[in-house]
Symmetry: C2
Subunit: 320 residues, 2 copies
């Protein structure tokens, strides 16, 4: 049994931990920083932890691919796996803390006009305008997507004394006390007119394509805000542009886009009140996220090597 | 009894509320946007709500000045009041929510490198560097100043699952469950070496001058952060500059400075990892803050007109 780990983020303690588990099960493990630098003898591994898509495409021997990302949309196309029966697992669950902190930060940067004040400071200007501000306090927050990310955000947002936090999801169910109410996705149109801050953390699937379309953007109240940390497919970017430019939305913060990197000639760069971040909300550079990510893989590595089902397996047909 | 209200922020509902109270007690009230536009007959009011320092200086008839700010350091000098017995009250208690949100925002902007990512976005650049990040999760937070502002922040920070939140104050006491421990100010030197994020919200008094001096800044751990939303007198700015430039501190966010506005030729503008905001953490442009501010004044207006002691009176000798 050969295990290939592809990562430039791992620390020695993570390498040791994975090695110990492999060794205790008589498996071989090898660490590399990228798919381009494959050590001899590891061209056809049984298990990959990391972004090993080129190998998955040609290696019929691959039995399990564990990707360190939460989203797996890029693995749902045909011809991604040479082995039709290859198991796929993801790392959804390791990003909740870091992405929740991202959402709070960008939402408050917009509401408190820190985008403008910080922009002035970068130019060495003491800005004296006192712009109108908004607050998480007493705001009506809707989470479209209530997985690890949405719920981690809801738990933090609760401390800011919002008016209410509504969750909207496929199942319409959650046991987490951070939500005041939960709705199914087909109730989205009822919820949006009462939403001051919409936080989107959806996976990319055919059902989520342009789920925030023009009608829905303009059904939100004037002066409301949108944050998207899920996937760029979920928003009609042209409609968002129009809603920001005409002032219908007070702000939007996008970490994900239909095309990434966002092309340098995209008009989104200069859109009024649009806060752009380059898909960094869930970087592995936060120590806690990396810990959790490795913990999830090693938990499933034990499961796999001892013949148990994986805890973090993704349904390769459904895409989540 | 003549009441002068000086404000450019009040809405009609606030004007109505104040007028009703005045009228029901047989007092006259007059509203103006600045001290320069005084209506006839109100040159020597008995009560002022607003920044009426020029009048206080000359009007021996002034019995009560209520300022809409939390800090009152600028009123502690000699010759500020023509009437030695003039009562002073402030609006400490109305800024907790808005300044707590400011602190969370700037702390996370620094920890998550959004200062850099947003700076790149303003230049139209998709920044691909994955800088090392920090998190409020598992961080050791020390609050120097545990009044309304510090405690409002502590309540919110608690939801981010920090390692601990330590309060340091004059009394060393608090009943708020958001603190893991409370210390008196003379224990500050014991606390700083175990502090990842120091949040300062102190009034300006002789005791707080340069309380964060060079020794204390360098006693903090390498890679730690400082946020100051109190008054600029509390930090040795030269030492802070050195600690940031040499990388000892990972970041600092200052909303207050020894000299305000910060002079355009100050080297602080270009200091490494220094996030500057122009004394806007507690703007009255947030609706909730303004509501609370007016509520506090009207509560004390009823007290004053009915002969009871004021709830928000400031000790003019102590300065708080």
């Amino acid at each position: 049994m050969k295990i290939l780990v592809i990562s430039s983020s791992l620390k020695q303690e993570h390498i040791d931990k994975i090695s110990r588990i492999a060794e205790s099960h008589g498996a071989e493990v090898c660490f590399t920083e990228s798919e381009d630098k494959l050590p001899t003898g590891f061209e056809e591994p049984d298990i990959i932890y990391g972004f090993g898509m080129n190998i998955a495409k040609t290696n019929k021997n691959l039995k399990w691919l564990c990707v360190p990302s939460a989203g797996v949309d890029y693995l749902m196309k045909p011809d991604v796996f040479a082995n039709d029966n290859c198991i796929l697992s993801n790392s959804s669950g390791s990003y909740g803390v870091t992405i929740a902190e991202h959402i709070i930060t960008v939402a408050l940067m917009m509401m408190r006009r820190l985008t403008s004040y910080y922009g002035a400071a970068l130019e060495g200007r003491w800005e004296t305008t006192h712009w109108s501000q908004s607050s998480l306090k007493d705001s009506r927050i809707t989470l479209l997507g209530t997985g690890d990310i949405g719920t981690s955000f809801a738990r933090r947002a609760r401390a800011f004394e919002p008016d209410k936090i509504i969750g909207v999801s496929r199942s319409g169910m959650s046991n987490d006390p951070s939500y005041d109410a939960m709705y199914k996705i087909d109730s989205l149109d009822d919820v949006l007119p009462g939403t001051d801050l919409l936080v989107m953390s959806l996976p990319s699937t055919p059902e989520t394509n342009d789920i925030l379309n023009r009608d829905r953007i303009f059904a939100m109240p004037e002066g409301s805000y949108v944050v998207n940390v899920g996937r760029g497919n979920a928003i009609d970017e042209d409609a968002l542009f129009d809603a920001l430019e005409c002032g219908h939305l007070a702000g939007a913060a996008l970490d994900v886009f239909k095309t990434e990197p966002l092309p340098s000639d995209s008009r989104l760069w200069k859109t009024k009140n649009l806060l752009i971040t380059p898909h960094i909300a869930g970087n592995l550079t936060l120590g806690y996220t990396l810990e959790k990510n490795v913990d999830m893989f090693t938990e499933d590595l034990n499961n796999f090597l001892e013949g148990r089902p994986l805890k973090y397996e993704v349904d390769r047909k459904k895409g989540y």
